[in-house]
Symmetry: C2
Subunit: 376 residues, 2 copies
Amino acid sequence: MEKEPLLMLPGPVPMPERVRYAMMRQAINHRGAEFGQVYADCARVLKTCFGTTNELFVISGSGTAAMEAAISNFGRDKEIACLVNGKFGERLFKIAGRYGKATEIGSSWGTPLDLAALEERLKGGAEVVTLVHNETSAGILNPAEAVGKLARKYDALFFMDGITSIGGDTVESDAWGVDVAFVGSQKCLAAPAGLSAISVSNRAWERYTKNPPYYLDLAAYRKSAGSTPMETPYTPAVPLFLALREACMIIDEEGLNNRVLRHKRLSQAVRAAAEAWGLTLFPKVDNLHRYSNTVTAITIPESVKDSDLRGTVKKMGIEMAGGQDHLKGNIFRIGNMGSVGAPEILATLAATEHALRKQGFTVKGNGLQAACEVLG
Amino acid sequence: MEKEPLLMLPGPVPMPERVRYAMMRQAINHRGAEFGQVYADCARVLKTCFGTTNELFVISGSGTAAMEAAISNFGRDKEIACLVNGKFGERLFKIAGRYGKATEIGSSWGTPLDLAALEERLKGGAEVVTLVHNETSAGILNPAEAVGKLARKYDALFFMDGITSIGGDTVESDAWGVDVAFVGSQKCLAAPAGLSAISVSNRAWERYTKNPPYYLDLAAYRKSAGSTPMETPYTPAVPLFLALREACMIIDEEGLNNRVLRHKRLSQAVRAAAEAWGLTLFPKVDNLHRYSNTVTAITIPESVKDSDLRGTVKKMGIEMAGGQDHLKGNIFRIGNMGSVGAPEILATLAATEHALRKQGFTVKGNGLQAACEVLG
């Protein structure tokens, strides 16, 4: 088999060997003590990544399942104010509309959210606020702390999608007043795709609404997690739990602070290269909104074609992401989530510079040198 | 690490090395051609196991997710007649109650279903019938073909839980008039836990009901499966798909007929041993209801304690299942799903006989010899 391409996407991401090899094991009984310990280990480390002491459950389903678990368990029939400045904010709004009275507080993708409009909605009776902390579709980091303050001021629940920030960026769910937060396994945690984890505050439990989907009923997860050994209500994806545990052990060994600093440094290096080349970073940031520390969205110059740019890079064994929906062809995105380090970033930047030149784009300055200055 | 125990459970089951090792791979892009081919390979082989030419989708979620997908996509607000003679029939009834007007047509666990009562419900307007084909909680194989005929006669949809029969027993979804069938990955397919697959007839699509859970909306699965490359709507559990594909290749190589015959022979051997020892098989069978070919439920004799019986066997590295809910302590169950063969069956039977003797139970005849006569 040919070597797999290097995935520099905003997920899935390359997994450390230890994580992959943890899945080789023979089946174990998911109602036994060993599995219970695996689940408990995951929950312990993930709580540190979430910045929470709340209860935390692992769902055998992707981040979208966790989104729906949040909305359907704690948002049904409620007024839900959805902050949207990218694709995943839109998805949360769509799911919110299936269960509650959802209002979109929209900004153009990758531009600052309208917190004044949010405050109006809260005054008007919104009971839940949804936010995508790190909006990968546009490469923007949204102001979770400020949103949390507003939600608390008006006694609303705050659901935060931390799918692509938790484990790679600073997240302080409890300090920020987040009631329900969730993460996906195949992003900054560098585990395989297929699991998500969700934390739930006591405030949220007090407002638990009956009749979520059976498979996503967090009351059942709570009951099973409270048993000895710790369990899931339905058969879990055991190999993925084994891999996630190994990924959590790696986070423990690196130290969460070091891990967050590494993500910040790597994304800073990508931004430094892009700016040195004379490219424009896609998001519009301000004193509250920042560039994402886990994925960089870059505007494709007029003279350059997306398919040629990424195609040339792919020929060198590296997959970058394009834009989604209306941004297709307008931006490309370089992820730096999970276990990637300077070598992967440098290879990606070198290939990108080559592709830009090949397309006739004249780079202004030395992007690789700028990146190395950040990394070195 | 000590060797994992031999799991002789009605799932999860031991996985062939090839299946486990397929998960070691580096992450691949789930929107790429390679993943699309993996999904297509799984769908092709699974359709033969289902006995269907209907569309088939793989869900990143356990069998319970597939149960809910069936009910929520095609049963919402409908009158649902649920045939129940075991734990999983009860679960389907419980889920049906969340979405439709559900009626339980109940028999004691492990006893024949009341098809006359079903016909009354169908005359009374039931629009959907649910059946667990192979009820592992009681070791009984239910008459799917007869139920399918009744459902068709009254133009009702027929949902069949084939979680523990498909891939190990004769299943002819199309010939039996099954509209929606589903299977779990960690049972007769001998793949890891965490995936399920579901087939959908055109009749079911014509009666698709809006607003299933977002994560389980099969219209979205249909759309993504129809794209090139074949995709899932949300991030799939990629390593589990890779393992399932390998498990499907093994089914192809063995041949489905051979595989079904092997399951039948192995369960027959377990029954022969139990009867030779003088034990009683738990289910009450008749000309329509049969003993399960994938798990054998045996009544524990009065003088024997469940925990001592299974505990002694477990000390020899073999895990058998106990009874669930009100059958806890009354029965024990030996699974023969997936890739197990004569060696695993013989070891389990030898350990069981030893445990019975140790408990002071006098075996009537030579169970191992009876089993060997079936297997040899």
